[in-house]
Amino acid sequence: MEWQFVDNAPIYSQIVQQMRLNIASGVLAPGERLRSVRDMAVEAGVNPNTMQRALAELERDGLVYSQRTSGRYVTEETSMIEETRKTIAKDYVKSFMESMNRLGYSSREIADIIEAFEKEDGAHGNLKM
Amino acid sequence: MLGKLIKHEFRATARIMLPLIGALLAVSILANLSMRQVGSPNAGQSSVLNILSTIALILFGVGIMAVFIMSIVLMVQRFRSNLLQDEGYIMFTLPVTAHGLIWSKIIVSAVWFLATIAAIAAAGVTSVLRMRYIRDLIDAIRQALPRLTASQAVDGTAAVIEMVLIIIFAAAVMCLIFYAALSTGHGFANHKMLLSVISFIVYTVAMELISSLIANLFTSMGWSLPFYNTLGPSGRFHLTCGYLMFFMAISGAVFYVITAVNLKRRLNLE
């Protein structure tokens, strides 16, 4: 996993966000076993307490569950993963729309731009999601 | 923990002292052969052999000096580099007391001084060794002690033990003067070595002054003390030895306290 952190938000909340994204996008498969807190902390180059705090928050949200003896796993409830995916998508759209509105585009114009973009890039086969 | 400190101190010093002593003993065998050559009736017939023999004899002299000087330099250097320079960061954060550190250094240095003296003596004997000399030597020692007892009315065995004790005391006191001076000088922020040398001079002069003061006191009134006159030569000898050991014990204790206080309260690693 690649970890990237910005300066203006707590590390643990950035870990939570990146883990949610990885789970929603399937980088972490449903039911996949997570490595130990220490290993993940070393990989991300963060304090183990920070990693612990992030995982505890994911656990509270139900995206991750822990089994006393064998460690932590990604949830197997696909409905919950799907819901997370939708939430993230909504956030992306929201911030995209805000940016476009700031540029002065109306919702209708935005739809046109997206359509044109898809046609253009789709023809070149460049659009990768 | 003192045992472990001593073990590691030996490990650090033996790598220098053992090869040096070994080399000295090896050279003493060479010197032995050389002396046979120089002293043999056909000396002067082979100039090459004579030159080699002379070189071996010079080497032998240099070797004796080297071992002797090295044991003193090593004593000073170990204290300084191991405790007062960078390695001190490790030594003073070990779970041991400052006393343990000082004692381990004194004990190991004293052992090396004795080993040096023994090695030089052994080398000296080796260099002049002939089979008949060994017998002579053993005979000489066997006769010397009773002769000493007879002539001076001194118990020879006791005298030898006292002399050995005095050597050990002297070695320990010498270590402690150096340690006290080094630890005093290195407690300052700058000119650590210069101030160590000055402290050494001050301490040595102070000790000399006090010892001569006491000696004067003793001569001026001591000799006339009634009990002294009742002592025979043997008693006077033991009294002198006892006094020497007592004086060294006191001065050793003073320098020990100076060293310990410096290391505990004034430690100033760079």
């Binding site: 707590p10 220490r38 070393v42 920070t50 | 073990k7 590691h8 490990r11 650090a12 779970p95």
Partner: protein
């Protein structure tokens, strides 16, 4: 019990005050950054905790004890310079640590050394400066100590070594123990810290958790540090 506690701790060198009535407490399980410009009193504080210096006034307690044999058993200390004897081999160094520290985990040390490809028979003298630093760090981190005092562990090392050092610190983390890292290179360490202590001219300027700083100020510890210590 607090791992480290200072009450009105003061250290004067002659008339210069290196630490001025400092009071602070460090709890178990924390990785704490002791941050300040050069000459701010970081090393003095660490030396007082180690018993390498004695306080002018006030007190410092390590796991409830004044600095002494007990506290030295409890603390694993990385000085701000390489101090391991250069004539020794790695094996002799490990013997030395094993003899004096009951908590020295020789297997952990061997594992870390072999990962770096350092031969146990190698003498310190034959090593590069960077390798010496790593060997010293491995010895310090191989102890299962209660308090690790790391004085400038990443000063003057290349980025790869810095990552190695920080990973070693995180990888040896133990929830019962605390780590104090003193440094002025904040950006490099801030992701591994729980708490920070800003120190300047012998006084504590700020103590906070890293999360709080980012949450409340919306900026990194490094950015805040630059603001606080602006020249």
């Amino acid at each position: 019990m607090a791992i480290l506690k200072c009450n009105e701790l003061t250290k004067q060198y002659g008339s210069v005050c290196a630490l001025d009535h400092i009071s602070l407490t460090i709890e178990p399980g924390r990785i704490v950054g002791l941050l300040g410009p050069n000459g701010s009193g970081k090393t003095t504080l660490i030396k007082l905790a180690n018993g390498l210096l004695t306080p002018s006034s006030g007190e410092i307690l390590i796991n409830g004890d004044k600095p002494g044999v007990e506290s030295k058993r409890f603390i694993s200390y990385l000085p701000d310079r390489t101090c391991i004897a250069t004539w020794m081999t790695v094996k002799q160094l490990m013997d030395f640590y094993m003899d004096f520290y009951g908590d020295f985990d020789v297997d952990a040390a061997r594992q870390m050394l072999s990962r770096l490809g350092i031969d146990e028979k190698q003498r310190v003298r034959q090593m590069s400066k960077g390798t010496r630093e790593k060997v010293q760090l491995i010895l310090v981190m191989s102890r299962k100590a209660g308090l690790y005092l790391l004085d400038e562990p990443i000063g003057g090392v290349d980025p790869a070594t810095r990552d190695y050092i920080l990973n070693t610190i995180i990888g040896n983390y133990n929830p019962e123990a605390s780590v104090i890292i003193s440094t002025h290179l904040i950006a490099d360490v801030e992701n591994v810290l729980d708490d920070v202590i800003f120190i300047n001219c012998g006084q504590i300027v700020l103590t906070s958790s890293v999360d709080d700083i980012r949450e409340n100020n919306g900026k990194s510890v490094d950015a805040l540090f630059r603001e606080v210590f602006k020249c």
